[in-house]
Symmetry: D2
Subunit: 343 residues, 4 copies
């Protein structure tokens, strides 16, 4: 009855997931670990009462693995998924699905070839109580039809150096997915406005940037991204609708007054803000695995769509003008509404 | 048509009032100044195109003085009012009316003897847009009948040294007046809870303190006063009613994000918070003088009542228990509803 | 390795706990249920794959019960604990420990007689991230030494009718515990100010009320309780310290603008506010059971102390004056610092 | 010594200004009125103890007029200024300076021809304490160098019908001016993104719209404008800088809790938000007139620049692409820094 999970990649985020699966999430255990660094995998395995293996296929094929979590570096996601999918086991793959459109397409093709949706993608914001509540506002009783979506995404600093393309594919990709999920429609065009660079921006790169998108129905989506904002980590999403406006800021508990200022802390990293979302995502996935039910989160198709839009955003950034976004027809495997987090 | 004002006392607050009357308030001019320090009066008079005099009666009796503003030290208010009232001119007197109940009573008696309400007392919070709006909430359509009033009053530091009695008569006296004004009724009893002293509290004194009052109808009024709060100046008033709750905090324009914290500035002094209230008060008074209409602000009787309650609060502080508050019958001169700020 | 939990009382809160243990908390299962209504127990047991029993001792003694959660009505907590403690199994008991001081004392005596701390009491606010963060502010680097603690506790309505004594023993008891936990010291005296009754208050009862306490070191603790506040559920805790002030309000995600008003939702019930605290509490307890470690939450002694203070508060309410609070010496079983929630 | 003001146009805003000048602003009086509707002018003149005239030149030339305030409909501003400027008297003209670039240019040429700056333009936001404080944040000690400016401008409804061009020239023109004033530099290009229309938008028009500008130094300025937002009036300006971020929202005094919601009121019209700014602007102008000093507010050149940018915005709206903004050389008359509001 317990879901035995194999974890591919046990760096920063992978080991955090493994610990959650072993100790926080109800109904799951961690059985097998793989990492490019075999010692790292072995050490964590010892801690968790699991074992480690030397190759990705070994992990996917293991008898004591019911499901697999992939948390390896972005650029090997696709390769590992292609190796593992034939095993026919459920996979939770960290975002992004791939770093190139071709790789993303290959995964989609493989999954479609197998005829089953095996992959849930780690867009954990869909599980965040803030975004979930925001989406619930988009009704006739709430703020009405969405007209404009304004996003703010600040990182304290760019952990791997500032490359504007990566800002789009790795950071803004969250808003790209959230916009689709909030609005239940695809983007039609995208533009990137690169303005005056902040003090930590390398020559030839831009930060902050403004991404402007239009959806098929004409909703304007803005993303103000600042990867080296320095003042803290901050995510805001404001939706202006036909009847009102709703803003998802950062929930906070403590307002402190010292030295002629009253205010709240800002987290330094995303984990503090989204820890609950990560947990709910894992639990939702484990529950679906146990129950044989559809996964409640993002599918491979969602991951593919995000990659496509991010790629177009890179083009728009380079060209300075509008770039159309056109998705190929959605395979019937991915038809039907998303399930969404269960209460 | 211009109201020529004589100003008694041109220290900190007196000179600020004089400048407002001369340059900000419409329809007023400053004609004559008096100060215990004649040089200070003469210097400001030169700036304002006014003249200075050596005695208070001279000022009250001057032909070029239509009205008088008293902003001298607290403990000479009563004496100066008694000297000046016989001149029959309108007076705006800074709070408090007096520092002892006997002195306050003497002013009341003099005014009653003259048969005219000549004095408006400087409880400028009654003109503050925040308190005005808060009072408007106390209706059947708003928060309903008031049940509990919670006040927070923080000073950054006690400018003249910390003496708990003065905290009550000079600082908490604002909340004592506001409670009466908000609730339109008198207090019935008062108690002071003196707890653990803050680090800047001299031996034998207490700071912070909690003042608890009950009105005639049973409304509980709390005042958390902290004269050496250090973190800034802050005034909050929260009214819990039979249908809801309204809080008057400090309006603020700027929210700043730096160094992992998001917040707003707190003013260092009361002037920043209540500058508009001071202005509206002056203008309301000048307008009433010009129009021969009743003053829109606090009367001598209001000042007297505040002094009485403050005196009882001092007793309660000393005794540690409840002290009844009983006002003598209100002279018919002060009958009728307050006029209040005009829109 | 899985902790098999028996649940005593499966009404509102008991069934919620049972579902959490079965489906949300990692490492736990629900094996046996008891309820005064055997049909209710049997129905839930069927849902959870558990079984139900007809008596409390049967449940405590069952071989397939490793630990027991007590969520029956307040007034049978003590009786059931006395029946069950001899089984020597860990117990998580909903607050309060008992409704009379004598009953609370009997539980303490029984536990001391057994020589082991078996009971964790359900003061789940100690697990709430808001309170946890608030406590972290009480340092020399934060707001300094605590001087005044102001609590606001509003219930939308009193679910079982308004009886002021119950307001104190069942509702304010949360703040009584939190004050001890925040300040790490005992109360020295308590007073209750009963003011003007709100519109839903029965004759002879009072609501809202103001509870004022002083701790051994002189910290003033206020609790403004309003059991029929109608406008929503709200919990605020503001600590004024020697260097600043910290306020724990209600965290919120969505600010909505419609019809000339901008604001946030207030939850209707406490569950919305404290769901996470309940979960963390359960998980902390299960983990401690599995690991044979000290429980991270409130002990029986904490429950006893809360009962004593609540009893004194009732007396103070009746007498209108100060009532001293004196705890008997703390048994050595309860010596040592609290463990507190683990990160 | 009193400044006698003639007022051209006494509709909504003109009569409000006239009343302020007569009764609120210190040092001013209203002497002569003109309106296209002579009865309206005569009626207000009777109220204020002034007189009315039948032509604009009569008013400008009158011996009892020291200065003129123009508050007529937008499209006659330029014509009236051209008629009146030869009189050589100071003018406070409501924004916009003109509704076409040619008209705006004609005023500039006339003023330059006279060799004196006679006109202050009514961009009263420069006097708003919120914007003043926001500008003060743009320092090395504050949020550093400005990088992105995000504006939100919501009107409850479009009072004269929704025409997107007018949204730009009459509504967004405020942000166009504020951006120049905040950043102390000119715009280099502008684009308008017209998305999904709200429910009250006539066919062929767009609302909401997103205006994106780039300044000479590369600062990105966004304006999210919604003329029929329905939910209330709201103005927000957020500046992201090299060291942090500052947001000017709407100051508010009262937070109200009723019916499971806690929030603040939004004003229905701009007057509630900017009343103080209007007052400060008038007073600053009167003071400058009395003192023979440079006006502290916007000049004709500022008005001209705003008209140019608004015109380019209209073009960008129509073309869907970027439109360059190029101002002609600034006449030496307008050289030197702005004076700005005096404390």
């Amino acid at each position: 009855m317990t879901v035995r999970v194999g974890v591919v990649g046990v760096g920063n985020i992978g080991s955090s997931h493994a610990l959650n699966l072993a100790r926080v999430v109800s109904g799951s255990a961690v059985s097998v670990l793989f990492d490019a660094d075999p010692d790292r995998a072995a050490a964590l395995a010892a801690d968790l009462g699991a074992r480690s293996v030397r190759t990705v296929p070994e992990l996917f094929d293991a008898d004591d693995v019911d499901a697999v979590l992939v948390a390896s570096p972005d650029d090997v996601h696709a390769e590992q998924l292609l190796l593992g999918l034939p095993a026919g086991k459920p996979v939770l793959c960290e975002k992004p699905l791939a770093t190139t459109e071709a790789d993303a397409r290959a995964v989609i093709d493989a999954e479609v070839g197998l005829g089953r949706r095996l992959v849930q993608l780690g867009f954990m914001r869909r599980f965040d109580p803030g975004y979930v509540q925001l989406k619930q506002e988009l009704t006739a009783q709430g703020i009405g039809e969405p007209l404009v979506v304004h996003n703010v995404h600040r990182n304290t600093s760019a952990p791997y150096g500032l490359v504007t393309e990566r800002t789009l594919t790795n950071m803004v990709v969250h808003e790209l997915d959230i916009g689709r999920w909030l609005l239940d429609e695809e983007y039609a065009s995208v533009m990137v406005v690169a303005g005056r660079p902040g003090p930590l921006t390398p020559d030839g790169q831009h930060d902050p940037i403004l991404v402007v998108l239009r959806t098929a129905s004409g909703v304007v989506v803005e993303v103000e991204a600042f990867a080296n904002a320095q003042y803290g980590y901050e995510v805001v999403c404001r939706v202006t609708g036909s009847r009102g406006q709703a803003v998802m800021g950062d929930g906070s508990y403590i307002t402190r007054s010292t030295s002629f200022s009253r205010g709240v802390d800002l987290p330094e990293l995303w984990l503090g803000r989204f820890a609950e979302a990560y947990r709910l995502q894992l639990q939702g996935w484990v529950d679906a695995v146990q129950g044989g039910e559809p996964f409640p989160g993002a599918t491979s198709w969602d991951g593919f769509a995000a990659t496509v839009v991010a790629t177009r955003a890179v083009e728009a950034y380079r060209s300075g003008g509008w770039v159309d976004v056109v998705l190929p027809p959605r395979p019937s495997l991915y038809a039907g509404p998303d399930v969404g987090p269960r209460p």
